[in-house]
């Protein structure tokens, strides 16, 4: 689903969280919102989901004007930073929640719901864990359950808030590769928020660099590294990764998985 955002504004008191944002997201694209904390990236993500009331502007999902639609009507898959899995429900019940709360008219039969849940569990490589509860899962597993739960409603767009923020470094790397593969398999339009430029540059088709409620640059990772549009972008992208990530020397793929992911992305 193609998303277009026009003149999106939001302020908290006198502080502008979003400053007349214009952004077009192509169908099937994997887009990163990159910026320091307070740059408005999470506010933008939540505004797309309808979780954050906006002051002005329009949001379109394909041919639909989504600006006035409620959260429920927007049908976005949202993965929260800390996953927000329902603690008192099994993994399967979590994943199928979005199907089970539908109006009877649109609700699949019980066996069909179960089948879809199991299918999604296999997709996120957690087959056999349907009866577990969230507290019996590792961080990486929880994240994949949250993703499966978001995918269950066949969302118009998949939104992820700091998807790897709560994981340790090793798991983070693995999940990053896996998420890229999953995206390429399923083809959902995906937007994720991160403050980690390495994550944004390695994973996304295009990166939106945000600062103080405004977009500084929207471009491919290569272009952002090679031709930073503003001083802010140049400094933000180089900081931390100094020496490792420069325009002339992009990071070498480290594992077979990453090489595959890279080939998919470049190809």
């Amino acid at each position: 689903m193609q998303i277009s955002i026009r003149q999106l504004s939001k302020s908290y008191g006198s502080v502008a969280a979003l400053n007349a944002i214009d952004l077009d997201i192509a169908s099937g694209e994997l887009l990163a919102l990159l910026g320091p904390s307070g740059s408005g990236k999470t506010t933008l993500l939540r505004a797309i989901a309808g979780l954050e009331p906006i002051d002005g502007g329009r949001i379109r999902f394909g041919d639909i004007d989504a600006t006035e639609l409620s959260v429920q009507e927007r049908r976005v898959g949202f993965v929260f930073q800390h996953y927000a899995l329902f603690k008192h429900m099994s993994v399967l019940d979590n994943i199928t929640f979005g199907l089970r709360v539908r109006k009877r008219k649109y609700r699949p039969a019980r066996e069909e719901i179960r089948r879809r849940g199991e299918e999604l569990l296999k997709l996120v490589q957690l087959g056999g864990l349907e009866a577990r509860y969230p507290n019996q899962l590792s961080g990486g597993q929880r994240q994949r359950v949250a993703l499966a739960r978001a995918l269950a409603i066949e969302p118009r767009v998949l939104l992820l808030d700091e998807p790897f923020g709560a994981l340790d470094a090793k798991v983070r790397k693995e999940l990053r590769v896996w998420l890229r593969q999953l995206h390429d398999e399923t083809g959902y339009t995906t937007v994720f928020v991160t403050h980690d430029q390495e994550e944004a540059l390695e994973l996304a088709d295009r990166v939106v660099v945000m600062n103080a409620g405004s977009i500084e640059q929207v471009d491919t990772p290569e272009a952002i590294l090679r031709r930073p549009a503003t001083r802010f972008v140049a400094e933000f992208v180089e900081r931390d990764a100094a020496g490792q990530y420069t325009a002339a020397h992009p990071p070498p793929p480290r594992t077979v998985h990453e090489r595959v992911a890279r080939a998919v992305r470049v190809g």
């Binding site: 979780l51 959260v71 929260f80 329902f86 008192h88 709360v101 978001a150």
Partner: protein, 294 residues
């Protein structure tokens, strides 16, 4: 290296627990409980034993006593149920919304705690009674309700009203801190998955509150069963109709019928214990399913 002598282990590491002070704290807990709770209750039981089972049974099977016990426990059950519903709503409003005067309202919730129960009783009676001669400050609610055919003062309904009044804070105060812990992110997640507001509250928030709600309701129930001061004013003293069990105890004591008073007291003790024990079991059960899931 090695010039400084290290302290030597003079004792083999004993069977010490990871958390020290077990003996002391358990000893203190048991002595305190004995002194404050067990000894008075044991005295009550010994006193009643003097009557013999037959004697107790004879007291308890009089219609006046049976009706009083029914009213005490039945009324408390109704009051606790009413407060479970409305107390939850109040707690929800306090935790989730900001509005002018919230502080003052929150302080008011505690009033039934702090108020001498006789004051509450007099206030309720003045409010709900129907004065024969119109008098200022009397019957503000009693007169219009009477017009609708509802009598509160000197009826069983009045008993329930008083019980509801004094036990309200328990549900509100037990739920508030737990509700504050329920992150809104869960409701947001439910909303993005298509759940209506009602579905999010009933399927996501309510299960998280359930153990606390049970505790609060149990406390409210216990308080309502034990209430005396506020009820006797609004209930009057109509045998078989508005007499509560604690009032019968007081009457018996007044007439130097210590045996009968003790028998009723023992019955209340046994019933209260059984009910609270049942609630405890229920709680362990929900908590166990909680632990499995939390």
């Amino acid at each position: 290296m090695g010039a400084i002598a290290l302290p030597q282990l003079t004792r083999a590491p004993s069977r010490r627990r990871a958390m020290p002070g077990f003996g002391l704290t358990l000893g203190f807990t048991l002595s305190y409980l004995s002194l404050i709770v067990l000894i008075p209750l044991a005295a009550l039981a010994i006193n009643a034993a003097g009557l013999g089972v037959g004697g107790i049974w004879k007291v308890l099977t009089t219609s006046q006593v049976i009706n009083a016990l029914k009213l005490s426990f039945g009324g408390a059950l109704v009051a606790a149920a009413v407060n479970a519903v409305f107390g939850s709503l109040i707690a929800w409003t306090f935790v989730r919304y900001e509005f002018p005067g919230k502080r003052a309202l929150q302080a008011m919730i505690d009033l039934p705690f702090a108020l001498p129960t006789a004051v509450a009783g007099i206030a309720l009676t003045a409010l709900y009674s129907v004065p024969t001669v119109p008098s200022p400050g009397q019957g503000w609610l009693g007169v219009p309700l009477e017009a609708l055919g509802i009598k509160v003062a000197y009826t069983r309904l009045g008993v329930i009203v008083a019980m509801t009044f004094i036990s309200l804070p328990f549900v509100v105060r037990t739920l508030e801190p737990v509700l504050e812990q329920v992150d809104r992110q869960y409701e947001e997640a439910a909303a993005t998955l298509g759940a209506t507001r009602w579905q999010a509250v009933s399927r996501i928030v309510f299960p998280a509150l359930q153990p606390a709600l049970l505790t609060g309701t149990a406390l409210a129930f216990a308080r309502a069963v034990g209430e005396y001061g506020s009820i006797i004013f609004i209930a009057g003293n109509l045998p078989n109709l508005t007499q509560i069990a604690p009032l019968l105890i007081a009457i018996d004591l007044d007439q130097h019928e210590v045996g009968a008073a003790t028998a009723i007291a023992v019955a209340m003790l046994a019933l209260s214990f059984a009910i609270l024990f049942g609630i405890n079991l229920l709680q362990t059960w929900t908590r166990r399913s909680e632990r499995r899931t939390a």
